[in-house]
């Protein structure tokens, strides 16, 4: 009989397990780096790529700064004060994180074209707008929110007694500033590896250069070298950040039995918060969605005169809508398969990591630092690593390396850092004495797991599955590089058709995706409420 105490005892298997999992996650990256470094043309990445890195760094810096300045006060205020529509506004702020950034880019681009000011929204400023409003500000806001919500009721009361609301806001902001700064830095790093807005607004960023090298120029070697250079630059910044962040983050993951702070009502601040959040939501979600709706509305009058027209003309709105429905139907199965498969792979590995890490602070910090650093490398790096492995493998390995399963595994490995944070948090919320009591009463490990652990962890695992599925479906670079021919997902189909298809078709596909993400976010909200309970 294996004792349930095995879950709580130290052992060499823990470090071994963590090493194995990290090896698995990093293997595709290492493979591509190895190839790129061994390439005879190592270092030759092209002058345009060097310039693109400069532009990407500029976008990352500005977006990070804007994110910190807007996200920190909004996150602190939302956690401290209760106001009407707080939950809805928070959900709307979260939505852009779960949708591929290029969809918002298409929305803004479409809106600017409809307003007749396309020159206002192009190039670097447009990239900054989409990244700041859709990625960095929400990321910093949610981090500051979480840091403030982790304060105890007594801490808030003490600050309020010492100096009123001004003191509460000041102390809460001080407490949240370090995690918010790190979130802004992480957001900045993530903008470096996202090709979406650069592609839409015609700004050659480093990530879009890599995609161009692979998908347009078909130069695998160049793409690999560019990936390696970008990954190296990102890691130089990300590793110290990861080490700095994890010391604090590792402690914050632990469940604490303290009196929670309850948000209070404050009329003036409530008005200010609602206004600021509404502005952010407008910039991040509503305006680009409006931009996507405009081509549909413009097609409305034409719909009324449909019968008088040639039904086989592809610019007919109703035919375009049918086309969109057909495209959604064609890609729905793959979209769900990739998202679900990735979620399953990521969550299984995340739970495995949580079991190996256990309650050992050093292991927890090491795991978080390593996975955070890996999360910052361009998604194209592991994807190209898998492509490299597939090209050098025998045909019988195609089922593993050139199939839909490959996409699931590649996306899952990419998102293990997210799933493992959820799994570690859930694991930390269990008590070590549960396993001790089980051991003392002779309850074997399998029965303890089935009767206690699995039911207790189920809500958190559900939230993790849904969140990873959403993030996986928003990852374009990985799917674009490793999907088998003819097996694209919905976001990939949008990328593929957006250059040639009617604007209305692209808009319709984008809106379907956003509606699906919003529905899943709603499900996540309900599930996370259950997990919290």
């Amino acid at each position: 009989m294996i004792s349930s105490l095995a879950l709580e005892r130290p052992g060499r298997w823990r470090a071994g397990g963590i090493g194995l999992l990290l090896g698995l996650i990093a293997a595709p990256d290492v493979l591509l780096l190895w190839r790129a470094l061994g390439d005879g043309a190592a270092g030759a990445v092209g002058w345009s790529f060097v310039q693109a890195i400069g532009r990407s760094a500029c976008i990352a810096g500005i977006a990070g700064l804007v994110g910190l300045m807007c996200g920190l006060p909004l996150g602190v205020g939302t956690a401290l004060y209760r106001f009407r529509g707080r939950a809805l506004l928070l959900a709307l702020v979260t939505l852009p994180l779960l949708v591929p950034s290029f969809l918002w880019g298409i929305g803004w681009s479409s809106l600017a074209a409809a307003l007749g000011v396309p020159f206002l929204l192009s190039g670097l400023p447009a990239c900054v707008l989409v990244f700041a409003a859709g990625l960095v500000v929400p990321l910093v806001l949610l981090t500051a929110y979480a840091a403030t919500a982790a304060l105890t009721g007594s801490q808030i009361d003490a600050a309020r007694l010492a100096g009123g609301e001004r003191e509460v806001v000041w102390q809460a902001s001080r407490n949240a500033s370090a995690p918010a700064l790190l979130a802004a830095a992480l957001g900045g790093v993530l903008t470096l590896v996202d090709p979406g807005p650069g592609q839409i607004f015609g700004e050659q960023t480093a990530a879009s250069e890599i995609l161009t090298s692979f998908a347009a120029l078909y130069d695998f070697g160049l793409a690999g070298r560019q990936c390696a250079v970008l990954a190296g630059l990102v890691l130089v910044g990300a590793v110290p950040l990861a080490l700095l962040a994890t010391a604090r983050f590792a402690n914050d993951l632990l469940a604490k039995q303290t009196r929670r702070a309850v948000p209070v009502t404050h009329e003036r601040l409530a008005v200010l918060m609602v206004g600021a959040l509404a502005m952010l939501t407008t910039a991040a979600t509503i305006l680009p969605t409006l931009g996507l709706l405009l081509p549909m509305v413009a097609g409305g009058p034409e719909l009324l005169t449909w019968t008088a027209r040639d039904p086989f003309q592809m610019n007919h709105p109703e035919l375009v809508l049918f086309g969109a429905a057909a495209e959604v139907g064609r890609t729905a199965a793959n979209s769900f398969l990739y998202a679900g498969g990735a979620a399953l792979v990521a969550m299984l590995l995340g739970i495995g990591a949580a079991v190996c890490v256990g309650r050992f602070p050093r292991l927890r910090a090491a795991w978080l630092a390593a996975t955070l650093a890996l999360f910052c490398v361009p998604p194209a790096l592991p994807a190209l690593g898998i492509v490299a492995l597939a090209t050098s493998s025998p045909a019988w390995a195609d089922a593993l390396l050139r199939s839909r399963l490959t996409v699931c595994v590649a996306l899952g490995l990419r998102l293990v850092p997210v799933s493992s944070v959820i799994a570690l948090r859930a694991w930390a919320s269990t008590s070590p004495s549960w396993a001790m009591a089980a051991a003392l009463h002779g309850v074997p490990l399998h029965r303890y797991a089935a009767r206690v652990l699995v039911p207790v962890l189920r809500p958190a695992v559900g939230v993790g599955l849904l969140l990873v599925a959403l993030l996986a479906s928003a990852d374009i670079a990985t799917v674009l590089l490793v999907h088998p021919p003819g097996e694209s997902s919905l976001p990939l189909a949008i990328v593929t058709v957006m250059a040639n298809a009617p604007e209305m078709l692209v808009s319709a596909l984008c809106l379907v995706y956003i509606a699906g993400a919003a529905a899943m976010l709603g499900g996540l909200w309900v599930l996370s409420g259950a997990a919290e309970a």
Binding site: L5, A439, G442, V443, V456
Partner: protein, 252 residues
């Protein structure tokens, strides 16, 4: 393992460089009620976990009924074969299971039929005065009710030893006194050995006749609790003396 004695021979425990227990040797006779007292972090809970077989000693031996149960770096007799039940500081109730399921799962290691286990669980709940809470989840119960559930789960296995690791912390004095009286009555009825870890002189006085003082991981004083409190110059036992007030009359 009814009415067995327990003995520690030169037991030490290290956590990396930190020494939690240092060469402890002591003996608890069958039926004794012993209070382990000492300041926070002196190794009281570690000692209980070691005897229960939840941790292996870094060096030394733990003997139960004269048999070696744990040896240096080795647990020989698994926890559930030691006849020990324990009420943990945080009670360790499984939150997703009902009160009855908590007690039933706790009987999982016994060699009883399903029907016998159900009977024992219901008996234990009745013994602890909570038969009407059988279908409730621990999270919906008061602190005192949760203590009774933890106690019922421990008593259901009919242990030879009952270990209590500061389980009454945070309870109001009236409920605490009532629970202590009930445990005393049960101990008299079932004749199990009690080891209580506590900072509270009233708990120790109510439940125990013997005492062991732990200081910096060492068992510095041991003997009858009355004598220890009367004669010890240690800070914690002096505070016991002061808090109990008119000592000779208060300590029974």
């Amino acid at each position: 393992m009814k009415h067995a004695d327990l003995e520690l021979r030169g037991v030490s425990k290290h956590y990396n460089a930190r020494l939690a227990l240092d060469d402890i040797s002591l003996r608890v006779e069958p039926g004794d009620h012993t209070a382990m007292v000492g300041s926070s972090g002196c190794g009281k809970s570690t000692l209980l976990r070691m005897v229960a077989g939840l941790e292996a000693p870094s060096s030394g031996q733990v003997l139960l009924g004269g048999e070696v149960a744990s040896d240096t770096q080795r647990i020989i007799l698994p926890p559930h074969r030691r006849g020990i039940a324990m009420v943990f500081q945080d009670l360790a109730l499984w939150p997703n299971l009902s009160v009855l399921e908590n007690v039933l799962l706790g009987l999982g290691g016994t060699e009883c039929s399903k029907a016998q286990r159900a009977l024992r669980a219901i008996d234990a709940l009745a013994l602890c005065g909570i038969p009407d809470l059988a279908d409730r989840k621990p999270g919906t119960l008061s602190g005192g009710q949760q203590q009774r559930v933890a106690l019922a789960r421990s008593l259901a296995v009919r242990p030879a030893f009952l270990f209590l690791d500061e389980p009454f912390a945070g309870l109001d004095p009236v409920i605490k006194a009532k629970l202590l009286r009930e445990i005393m009555a049960l101990a008299g009825e079932h004749a199990f050995t009690i080891v209580l870890v506590t900072h509270d002189p009233f708990e120790a006085n109510e439940l125990c006749t013997m005492g062991v003082l732990l200081d910096g991981g060492r068992a510095t004083e041991r003997g009858k609790l009355v004598d220890l409190v009367r004669e010890s110059s240690s800070e914690i036992l002096s505070s016991f003396r002061q808090r109990l007030g008119g000592w000779a009359g208060a300590l029974t």
